[in-house]
């Protein structure tokens, strides 16, 4: 295998693994703010327990998120040196802004959030939770801005020629608010909220099924369900807006998302399907003209197909892009159905009677994760063969001095390390969940807690 494909696999692999954690941090961060806010407002000890329990899980997730995120920042330099020189002006400023405005805020207050219970008052502690949450939201802002600029470049000019060419900022705010920033950012944020909400739903559904910690499992389930319902419905609109943007700014990507080749035809919308990349045929369950309707409001208007683009300016793995996109959309619809149905049951006071539904919630934690990953893959593969849309090809973006063997070595190393990390993460997450929240309010629990945490007594 050559350097290009190895570097692409390495980047996709390391970012996919990393992208399990930040959405959880953002989503859990939101719920932590809600839980601790409830505690502060009502003084109800149950909310303190809930908050403390989720902070421990948050810390675990955050730790791996940071460690794997640092890798990403430097992989641009190690594997994509030409790209780094090309976009340094822009991508670099976004990364620097992320570090100083977002990540520093998040990591700074994290210490107080985790270790500060006995050091600061409840209000300062709550403030820290808000700051950690805001930090993670700002992080998403700068990262999505940087990525969106690659999708829809704006506010720059090209200086130099050939391999010396590079982009220079001409208008900072036009770069930040490039045509796709806002819609992609809101899409990512809500995807993250859903990931967090469904983790909380899953854990609490399991407690309710096992008849454990009911006094805290039920209220947290309800709060998370409320969050999930609002967010999944919002995502419908935001996701649609995103697709509109793709149609306007990256027509080749849109055509790939729907497996649409023929430029003269109306765009069909597929619920399920298969794209034959060779024969350029798409088969499956479809709504004829559905895509045209979504984009233009009628079933007749033809949509630009992949054939309208030169062979070397359109993505190749159309079927994969199509499938990733449809998995994401399908899951989005499922999440709406699931959360709206559960909310309806809740208002009829039947929510916790339906064991089968609770079991679905236990496993539904995977759905937003899969949707986030699939959405990311669809977005990034749909941009190919460009690394910066219409400007710089992925094949030209590599580090020229790095050899295939070096990339292979690091790729294998990351695979081994991440596999190990993932197993340990699941093991510890499971242990935390099995152990459950500790009641800090009653005497026995405090004794039990200190016995567990005091090594002199533990051994």
């Amino acid at each position: 295998m050559d350097v290009e494909i190895l570097s692409r696999i390495q980047f996709a692999f390391t970012i996919a693994f990393h992208y399990i954690y930040p959405p959880l941090s953002i989503g859990l961060g939101l719920l932590l703010v809600v839980f601790e806010g409830m505690y502060l407002k009502t003084g109800d000890k149950r909310y303190e327990q809930i908050t403390r329990f989720w902070i421990k899980i948050f810390a675990l997730i955050f730790g791996i998120g940071v460690a794997t995120g640092i890798i990403m920042e430097f992989e641009f330099g190690t594997n994509w040196a030409t790209y780094s020189k090309y976009v340094g002006d822009i991508f670099g400023s976004a990364l620097a802004a992320e570090g100083i405005f977002a990540f520093a805020l998040e990591s700074g207050f994290l210490g107080i959030l985790i270790f500060g219970w006995n050091r600061v008052g409840p209000k300062v502690h709550f403030f820290s939770a808000v700051m950690v949450f805001l930090g993670s939201m700002f992080s998403a802002v700068w990262i999505v801005v940087a990525n969106s600029w690659q999708q829809t470049p704006a506010g720059f000019r090209i200086v130099g020629e050939g391999m010396e060419a590079r982009a220079e900022i001409t208008d900072f705010w036009a770069m930040v608010f490039n045509p796709s920033s806002v819609e992609r950012l809101t899409h990512v944020w809500i995807g993250a909220f859903l990931a967090g909400a469904f983790l909380v739903l899953s854990v609490n559904a399991w407690y309710i099924l096992k008849n454990k910690h009911l006094h805290i499992a039920k209220p947290s389930f309800k709060i998370a369900l409320f969050t999930a319902t609002i967010c999944s419905l919002l995502q419908l609109f935001v996701g649609h807006k995103s697709a509109d943007g793709v149609a306007k700014n990256q027509p080749a990507k849109l055509a790939a998302l729907e497996g649409h080749y023929d430029s003269l035809a109306t765009g069909d919308m597929y619920l399920l399907g298969y794209v034959n990349n060779k024969t350029q045929q798409t088969t499956g369950i479809r709504i004829p003209g559905g895509l045209s309707f979504l984009l233009h409001g009628d079933f007749k208007t033809p949509i630009k197909g992949l054939n309208a683009f030169p062979e070397n300016e359109r993505p190749r793995q159309v079927n994969a892009i199509f499938q990733f996109y449809h998995i994401m959309v399908g899951i989005g619809v499922t999440l709406i159905a699931l959360s709206v149905f559960a909310t309806w049951l809740h208002f009829r006071n039947k929510l916790f009677d339906k064991r089968w539904l609770l079991w679905i919630f236990v496993w539904a934690v995977l759905l937003p994760q899969i949707a986030n990953q699939a959405g990311w893959f669809a977005a990034e593969m749909g941009r190919q063969p460009w690394v910066v849309y219409g400007l710089l090809r992925t094949s030209d973006a590599l580090s020229k001095t790095v050899t295939a063997n070096q990339v292979l070595f690091s790729l294998i190393m990351f695979m081994v390390v991440y596999l190990l990390l993932f197993i340990l993460f699941l093991y510890l997450l499971n242990r935390k969940i099995q152990h459950g929240p500790v009641d800090y309010g009653t005497k026995e629990d405090i004794e039990e807690g200190s016995k567990r945490d005091n090594p002199l007594l533990a051994h």
Binding site: F101, S107, F409, S410, L424, A458
Partner: protein
Amino acid sequence: METFLGLDYNIWWFLVFGAVISGYAILDGFDLGAGALHLLLRKELSRRIALNAIGPVWDGNEVWLVIGGGALFAGFPVAYAAIFSAFYVPFMIFLVGIIFRAVAIEFRSKEPMLWWRKTWDMVYCGASTIIALSLGLMLGNVALGIPLNEQKEFAGNWLSFFNPFSIMVAITTLALFMMHGSIYLTMKTEKRLYARLRILSRNFIIFFVLSFVITTLYTLLYVPHLSDFIRTNPAAFIIPILMVLSIANIPRQIKKGKYRYAFISSSVTIALLLIMVAMEVYPYLLFSTVNPANSITVHNAASSYKTMKILLTIAVIGTPLVAIYTSFVFWTFKGKVKLDEMSY
């Protein structure tokens, strides 16, 4: 060329970048040092206290690495691209160290079994040591220069990074961090652990001074270009003098039991060391040993002036904010370590 207070923007950003790197070395330096000496603390309770001494702040300290990476990427993209692709292999090892260290700290306390904790103690110590050594190794090679071709790209073999000078710098870096970390831990502990760390910090000071002297002598004899600037600018001689004074002040303060001043002194030492390296290296960010004309400099590697201005605006707004809440976090956890139910 546009200037601000008589210096052009590139130089300003070089100074900002240098400040960030110094911030990183001072802050992450003490927790890396604490990690590297971790196994020298024998008792489980001691190790736990040591871990919790850095617990609330190490994550924030590592942010400076991320800011530094962003600062280099944004301000000097050509240097960012060249440095990380050239140092591919050592840098990957560094990154794996970063991963293992973070998860070791996070995972260690999650299970009570002795084998579990011992394993993560070893990982934590090993990873911290590897990070310190690889940082030093890369710094040594940056100071020394590496072969760069006419396209300003690395044209050498990564095995050549393991040259005597860079290995000495690596060991000195490790020694420096261990000294710095042991002083920090002494400041944060009490009773028997405090007594043990007092002895350890004294040993690490000796370790550091020895490796520093040897590296300096080697530099003067065999790497003359790294003392050119000071030799030709007598005024710059103030920096090494200040450094000797600040190093000498460390054992003096320790003897008086004033660990906070000793810690400030070792922080100053780190900053002065980096200032000296920066002085000698400037205007090069990466010197080409093949042909000086191929070198990457503060001027030929930089972003546009527009970006430089934006970056400086970001730094001017962001730095006070970071300073405020970093101080707030350190202030919150001031004093000796107290374990509670949320500790590691």
